[in-house]
């Protein structure tokens, strides 16, 4: 049995020893407690740790680090998977044209010698009926890009590397006629140079693959690209979708302006669907993606413009860029469950293949991987993803700062190369 005497007397429990015996009313008792408290008043301050966190918030330290000074800031990551830790300065202005436009320029280098320089001007879509524009130029020098040979049966032991150096100018103009739907026309020009890889660990690609096997390995070509895309995105929360879908189709025509050997069209289709259940505390995330190329007579798709498979975003049990070929199909399924408010876990299965002929567009001889992952989020937006993928070639661990499935062309600087 619990005994409770409810009395205001206990207000002054902590001050009992200081009270005088002359207290003869409840009010006087409270006054006595106040007297004692009044003698020990001191500023009510947070602990040093809490004060530091308050200062960080109030002075917007993180935002200032992120935003930089006078538009200049440090940019981390963003180069190809496998490039190593990359860092560099970035100049970002969001305040152009009364804050309707954005300008960005960056130069980055990684520990493995990868480099990227880019300039972007964009007017993003802000509402239905709005037009959007994106101009993007960049130069990249990726000296150790992985390559295992052409086709679905390339050998893991044939791992090699090559230098991919390209310069691109891309433009996109689009409109959002109704909510969720984006239509855009795109065009670009690219100068591509491939050369020997610089890895000490792996052989350079041209030493084990002939130009007959690997189209373009000894060519330097420039391309004009033009095309369009359609994207319909009705995900409930793009930062961490739990319902809805994101579908996009992109068609591009590539014209080899230098050699006349690599004219082709490329069709990319991606369908993402998020199926929630139990009040969105469980989600099945599905993605199907396919890339098909259509080469003109006597024309071949150069290997560096072929779709690739393997890595953190598709076949997660395989090394990045593990498979190259003219066409690709990949499907992913994830079962996600909320572990606590800031973390979802995932079990996933990936299946896909690259293939030389479009008639092989099926699920025969596919590669597969399975695994599990963690999705850390703040206010339902994923900021960190950790995946462990297993395949017959071993296992891979991925730490990424994005969602597994891409945002689609309207939400990302536009380039089709998978690197």
């Amino acid at each position: 049995m619990l005994r409770a005497t409810i009395s205001l007397v206990v207000i002054v429990f902590y001050y009992a020893t200081y009270l005088s015996a002359q207290v003869d009313s409840r009010a006087a008792e409270i006054e006595a407690a106040r007297d004692r408290k009044a003698q020990t008043l001191e500023p009510d301050t947070p602990t040093p740790t809490e004060q530091t966190l308050v200062d960080i918030r109030d002075k917007k330290v993180i935002e200032r680090i992120t935003a930089g000074i006078a538009g200049f800031r440090v940019k981390l990551g963003g180069l190809a998977t496998g490039s190593g830790f990359a860092v560099g300065p970035e100049y970002l202005r969001r305040d152009l044209w009364n804050r309707r436009a954005l300008f960005r320029g960056a130069a980055q280098a990684s520990l493995l010698g990868y480099q990227k320089y880019d300039l972007q001007f964009s007017v993003p879509p802000v509402s239905s009926g709005a037009y959007f524009l994106e101009l993007l130029a960049f130069h990249r020098d990726y000296p150790q890009t992985g390559y295992y040979g052409p086709g679905p049966h390339s050998l893991k032991t044939n791992r090699s590397n090559f230098r991919l150096e390209d310069t691109q100018w891309n433009g996109t103009f689009g409109v959002r006629p109704v909510p969720h739907l984006n239509l855009a026309a795109t065009a670009g020009y690219m100068l591509v140079n491939v050369g020997p890889g610089t890895s000490d660990e792996y052989v350079s690609s041209e030493q084990i693959f002939t130009p007959g096997q690997t189209v373009g390995i000894n060519d330097q070509a420039d391309f004009f690209r033009n095309g369009f895309y359609v994207q319909y995105d009705y995900r409930d929360n793009p930062g961490g979708p739990r319902s809805g879908g994101n579908y996009f189709v992109e068609y591009n025509n590539y014209s080899d302006r230098t050699l006349g050997l690599h004219d082709f069209q490329r069709l990319d289709i991606e369908l993402q669907q998020y199926v929630p259940f139990f009040n969105k505390r469980r989600v099945i995330a599905l993605r199907g993606r396919s890339t098909l190329t259509f080469a003109h007579d006597n024309q071949r798709v150069p290997f560096y413009l072929q779709p690739t498979l393997g890595g953190s975003d598709d076949l997660r049990g395989f090394r990045p860029f593990r498979f190259y070929d003219d066409n690709l199909i990949v499907v992913n399924g994830e079962y996600r469950w909320e572990t606590f408010s800031g973390l979802d876990m995932a079990l996933f299965a990936d299946a896909g293949k690259v293939f030389p002929r479009r008639s092989q567009w099926n699920f025969k001889d596919i590669e597969g991987s399975v695994g599990f992952g963690l999705r850390f989020n703040v206010r339902n937006n994923v900021f960190l993803r950790a995946d462990v993928g297993f395949s017959h070639e071993g296992f891979q661990v991925w730490i990424k700062f994005n969602n597994i499935f891409s945002e689609g062309p309207v939400n990302a600087p536009h380039t089709q190369l998978g690197f």
Binding site: V9, L41, E63, W337, F340
Partner: protein, 526 residues
Amino acid sequence: MLLAASPLSARKFYRDDPLKAEPPPRSVQSALSRKLSEYYDFFHHTLFHPGERAAASSPIPAQGVNTLGEVPDSGWYTNRHYRDRMTLEELARGPGRENPPASDGLLKVIAAKTEGVTPGFTIEDARGRRYIVKFDPRTNPEMASAADVVSSNFFYALGYHVPENYILYFQPERLTVAPNATLTDADGNHRKMTSQDIAEILLRVPRDPERGYRAVASLFISGKILGPFRYYGTRSDDPNDVVPHEHRRDLRGLFVFAAWLGHNDVKSLNSLDSIVEGNGIPSIRHYLIDFGATLGSDSFIAKSPRAGNEYLFAWKPAAAQLFSLGFYLPRWAGAAYPRIPAAGNFEWELFDPEQWKPNYPIPSFQNRLPDDEFWAAKQVMAFTDDAIRAIVRTGQFSDPEAELWIAECLIRRRDKIGRAYFPKLLPLDRFRVENGRLALDDLAIVHQLAPARDYTVQWFRFDNDAESKTPLRGETSLALPQAAESAATGEYFAAEIHAGDPAKQVTVYVRKQPTQAEVVGIDRTW
């Protein structure tokens, strides 16, 4: 807890018991404004146990109460609807209806919140009054603004200090940027505000084709703003703050109110201390603020079914999810919500008052005892269906279904609260002496939660100085004992009452007065 009282004085009751209000406050001279960190608060409360915590075997009774177990009026709390029933008009009026934003003239934007998930402004209307203006999410028009207004009115009626919240409709032409308005943007840059900043915010919020933008306008709290209060310890710069907050009954009982209204976002950061002047004395008034994440709203989205059912993080549930691969399904995951965007995700069927949880542990909630819960539950039960509907109406829902559903949920949740907390002890209250008898309200019967029942009564002569009771033979009814008739003024008598279960007993203390006896104290056991 007699041991607490004993060292202080040799008597249980003073002549001025029971106090209806604390003595006038001391002047607060030196309190300074300070801020608290939301992240620190979360981790501190989630991973540690701030404040004095009672072991299950030795609970600490609530403090800051009078001898009847009620909370005296103070800078923390004002007895309202339970002490004296408020009319439906008074309930709907809430903390005030005299200061709505002007319905005409420009609304000057003097600050804006551009980052984060809940965009908003600080505005000044044509009469110079300032408001914090917050909007609804596009997915759930009216949800957060209605929750903010409705819940502030409930918390006001329940006795807390809250800001005046108003539903505001305005056309964008009324907004103008004040000449000296600045903002700190998402990149941390402090700069002059432009009309484009307002346009960007308005793009993210719903718009009614006829009435324009809808928002909740929260009138600036008057006085010198000091920042939030904590749910443990005391303010070291306030001479009037002598009760550890984790032991305040008004902050322990707040658990029940928060559960009822789905206020899982109750935390220090949603409170505010302000120095106000009353009778020429500056003292601190403690406010609850920001009710946008109550009822079915989580401010920027509809409420997650997790809200109110699990802490944001707790080891056991997280481990259960981790190791079961999500196949362990909490009951709340299957909650059914009607598709009413303005109502968000609010329900009553799975609501379990005992199991309800705020977003993270709150020390005063953790320390609550059955008598704290009873103190709160009886206040919740005091809201009739009509009273609840009258307050819900203040949310100004366009969709009648939303208003009906919110009211229905609150009525059902209210009843669950009564059923959960009244049986934990003997729910007798409002003791008074009428015609020589001890009269009382059995709240279980009043609210039709239990059939009429008999009580076992034993009267005692009570020695206030020695705190000892001497049984009065044959005095076993609610009639005052005969000894009371001939007793001198100031003598005390006590009646021990139970309804079949001696463990659940109420002891009522009566003091002889010149004309009649008066009830001066209540003890409860369970």
